[in-house]
C-alpha cells in the first residue's frame, strides 16, 4: 500500500482556507483596516459633519482651519472637511463601480475568446485592438466633451467602455493557458458542457488573476478619476470628489498657502490605492490552493 498522505489535515472549504491564509497576511490586514476606515467615513458622512459640502458661502472663502471649518474653506467658501468626507463617497463609488463593470465585461469577453478561440477570439481581440489604438486620455476627454453633462453613472460607463480591452486581454491569456491544461481535457472527457467548463473549471482557477486585476483596476480607476478631475473633466462641481479637491491645488495660492485643503484628499487617495493593492496581493496568495503560507 502507499504511504499515508504527508499532511492529513482536516478538510476545509476553499473559502475558510483562503480566509485563514488571508488573516495571516499583515499588509493585507492593514489594507483592510484603511479601506474599512474610509468606507466608514463614506457611509457615516452625514454624522461626521454638519456642513453641506455643496453650499457656497462667498463671505467666508479661503478660510484657514478654525473651530467651525476644521480644514478651512475653498475658493467658493465650501467647507473643506465636509467636501473631504462626502468626496470619499463619490470617489470610492466610482472606483468600485467602474472596476466592477470592467471586470464583468473582461471576464465574459476574455473567457469566450480564450475558450472558443478561432473566429470568436479574432472578433473580440480585434475589437479590443481598435479601442487600444485610440489614445486613451484623448478618447475619454472627447467622449466626456461630447456628453457634456457628466453624471456618476455616465462617468462609470465611459471608463468601462474605454478600459475593458486591457483586462480582456489579460484574462484571455489566463484562459488560453487554462484551456491547454489536462484537467480541462479530462473535464471534457467526463462529459462536461462548454458552459460548465467555463463556469466550474475556468473561473475558479482564474480567481487569482481576476482578483489581482480587479484590485489594480479599482486603484487605477480612483487615480483616473483624480486625474480627469485635475484636468477639469471629472465629475463636475459642486459634487465633491477627492480628485476635484486636489484640483484646487492648481492655484499657486492654495498649493503653497493652504496645504490643509489638498493634503488630506491627496493622502486619502494615496492610502486607499495602497490599501487596495495590499488587499489584492493578500487575496491572490490566499486563493492559491498550493500556497502554504
Amino acid at each position: 500500500m502507499e504511504h499515508a498522505p504527508y499532511k492529513m489535515q482536516k478538510g476545509h472549504s476553499l473559502l475558510t482556507l483562503a480566509t485563514k491564509r488571508f488573516l495571516k497576511n499583515k499588509l493585507a490586514l492593514i489594507g483592510i483596516i484603511i479601506l474599512v476606515f474610509f468606507t466608514f467615513i463614506a457611509i457615516f458622512a452625514p454624522f461626521l459633519t454638519t456642513h453641506d459640502p455643496t453650499k457656497h458661502d462667498l463671505l467666508n472663502v479661503m478660510a484657514r482651519p478654525n473651530a467651525e471649518n476644521w480644514l478651512g474653506t475653498d475658493s467658493s467658501g465650501r467647507d473643506n472637511f465636509a467636501r473631504f468626507v462626502y468626496g470619499s463617497r463619490v470617489t470610492l463609488l466610482i472606483g468600485f463601480l467602474s472596476m466592477f463593470c470592467v471586470i464583468i465585461v473582461g471576464v465574459i469577453l476574455g473567457s469566450l475568446a480564450g475558450y472558443y478561440g478561432g473566429l470568436v477570439d479574432g472578433i473580440i481581440m480585434r475589437a479590443a485592438d481598435i479601442v487600444l489604438t485610440l489614445p486613451f486620455l484623448l478618447f475619454v476627454l472627447t467622449i466626456i466633451a461630447i456628453i457634456q453633462n457628466i453624471t456618476i453613472p455616465l462617468f462609470v460607463l465611459v471608463i468601462a467602455a474605454t478600459n475593458w480591452p486591457n483586462t480582456t486581454r489579460i484574462l484571455r491569456g489566463t484562459f488560453l493557458s487554462l484551456r491547454e491544461m489536462d484537467f480541462i481535457l479530462s473535464a471534457r472527457s467526463a462529459g462536461c458542457s462548454d458552459w460548465r467548463i467555463i463556469t466550474k473549471h475556468f473561473l475558479p482557477n482564474a480567481v487569482g488573476p481576476i482578483i489581482v486585476n480587479a484590485t489594480i483596476l479599482m486603484a487605477s480607476m480612483i487615480i483616473l478619476e483624480s486625474a480627469l478631475s485635475f484636468v477639469g473633466f471629472g465629475i463636475p462641481q459642486p459634487t465633491p470628489t477627492w480628485g476635484n479637491m486636489v484640483n484646487e491645488a492648481r492655484s499657486m495660492r492654495v498649493l503653497t498657502g493652504a496645504p490643509e485643503a489638498w493634503v488630506p484628499p491627496g493622502l486619502a487617495i494615496l492610502l486607499t490605492v495602497l490599501a487596495i493593492n495590499f488587499i489584492g496581493d493578500g487575496l491572490r496568495d490566499a486563493f492559491d490552493p498550493k500556497s502554504n503560507k
Binding site: H3, S186, R188, S189, K200
Partner: protein, 345 residues
C-alpha cells in the same frame, strides 16, 4: 484468464478511421490514416507505438475530442455497441463521455482541477450523468475510492489533489473514470508518470475493476512491459496505421512486422548481458510527409523495392494475427534472422 472473453460480443468497432490535422503551413498531417479494430467486452487491448504514431489521436477520435478546427475526423466509423458515435450531436456526445466511455490520462496530477476537492471531482460526473443528489454522489465517491484501493477514503474526499501522491491521484482518476460504470475505459499512458512499483499496482487495479464490471479497456502505451503485464490483445501502430494486430502471447512469441521485431528487441532483458541496447535506426517520418509506400520502409532493414511503391494491406495469417508487411504476402516467411536467433537462445 486471458483469452476467455474472445468469443464475447464486440463493444467498440472502429472502421477506416482517418483523422487529419491541418498544419499552420496548410499541409495536412495524417495523424490517423485508415485504422480499423474491434474491442470486445471484457478485453484489454493495448495500442502501442512511439510518439507521433497516432495512438493518442486515435483515442481522442473515439472521444471526439480532436482539437478543432485544425483537427478533423475525415472518414470512417466508430460504433459503440452498434451506435455510431461520429453521427451524434455534441449534446448527445456529452452523454457518452464519462458515462459510457471513461478516460484516464497520463499525468494524474494535471488531470485534476487544482481548486476542487477530490470528492467534488468524483461527484461531478455522477451528478451530471446519473443525476445524483450532492450527498448521494459524495457517498458514492467514498465507495469508489475504497474500490480503487485508497485507505481513509472518507478523509481523501475532502482533500485537494496536491495533497496526494502520484499513485494515489492516479487511483482517484481511475475512480472518476469508473464512476458511471462505463462500458469502455480509454487509458492514455496511465502509468507513464508513475514509478514501477506503483505502475504494477495501478495496472493490477485496472484489470481487477475491468473484470468486476465486465467493461473493456483500451490501453494506450509506448511501454512494451505494460503490454505484457496488462493486455489481452495488442495493436502496434506506426505512422498513423496499425501495422500488426495479435493476441499478447502470439505477438511476443511470434512478432512479424519488422517494426514490432525491432520494438521487442529494443527492450532491455535481464537475462542477456548487453553493452548496448538494440535500436531502430532513424525516426518516425512526419505525418504530413509520409513515404509513398510502406511507412516503415525507410527504416526497415528488409525493405525491398516493392516496399516503396504502395502501402501494403493488412494480411491476416494464422491465430488472428494480422500484419501490414509485404514480406508476408502469400506465404509465411520470417524476415528477420535476428529474431530466429533470439527464439533459439
Amino acid at each position: 484468464m486471458r483469452g476467455v472473453y474472445m468469443k464475447n460480443e464486440p463493444l467498440l468497432e472502429v472502421n477506416g478511421l482517418k483523422t487529419y490535422i491541418t498544419l499552420e503551413n496548410k499541409k495536412q498531417a495524417k495523424a490517423v490514416d485508415g485504422v480499423d479494430f474491434v474491442i470486445h467486452k471484457g478485453e484489454t487491448t493495448a495500442l502501442v507505438g512511439e510518439s507521433g504514431s497516432g495512438k493518442s489521436m486515435t483515442s481522442m477520435s473515439i472521444m471526439r475530442l480532436i482539437p478543432e478546427p485544425s483537427g478533423k475526423i475525415v472518414e470512417g466509423s466508430i460504433k459503440l455497441e452498434g451506435k455510431e458515435l461520429l453521427k451524434l450531436s455534441e449534446k448527445q456526445m456529452e452523454k457518452v463521455r464519462g458515462n459510457e466511455i471513461g478516460m484516464i490520462f497520463q499525468d494524474p496530477h494535471s488531470s485534476l482541477n487544482p481548486v476542487f476537492t477530490i470528492g467534488m471531482q468524483i461527484a461531478e460526473p455522477l451528478r451530471k450523468h446519473k443525476k445524483m443528489k450532492k450527498k448521494e454522489a459524495y457517498k458514492k465517491a467514498v465507495e469508489l475510492l475504497v474500490m480503487a484501493g485508497l485507505p481513509n477514503a472518507d478523509q481523501i474526499v475532502k482533500m485537494y489533489p496536491h495533497q496526494l501522491s502520484g499513485g494515489m491521484v492516479q487511483r482517484v482518476v481511475i475512480a472518476i473514470a469508473m464512476s458511471c460504470d462505463p462500458k469502455l475505459i480509454i487509458a492514455d499512458e496511465p502509468t507513464t508518470a508513475l514509478d514501477v512499483t506503483i505502475q504494477s499496482q495501478i495496472l493490477g487495479l485496472m484489470t481487477e475493476l475491468k473484470d468486476q464490471t465486465n467493461s473493456a479497456v483500451l490501453m494506450i502505451t509506448h511501454d512494451i512491459g505494460v503490454v505484457s503485464e496488462a493486455a489481452d490483445k495488442v495493436m502496434v501502430m506506426y505512422g498513423g496505421q496499425i501495422v500488426e494486430k495479435a493476441s499478447v502471447k502470439e505477438l511476443f512469441r511470434n512478432p512479424k512486422h519488422p517494426y514490432t521485431i525491432g520494438l521487442l528487441a529494443s527492450v532491455p532483458r535481464i537475462e542477456v548481458e548487453q553493452e548496448r541496447l538494440e535500436s531502430i535506426q532513424g525516426t518516425v517520418p512526419p505525418s504530413h510527409a509520409f513515404p509513398k509506400g510502406c511507412r516503415f520502409a525507410p527504416r526497415c532493414k528488409h525493405a525491398i523495392e516493392a516496399c516503396t511503391k504502395t502501402v501494403p494491406e493488412l494480411i491476416e495469417s494464422s491465430n488472428d494475427h494480422e500484419v501490414r508487411c509485404i514480406l508476408y504476402r502469400g506465404e509465411e516467411t520470417r524476415p528477420c534472422d535476428n529474431h530466429e536467433q533470439r527464439n533459439t537462445n
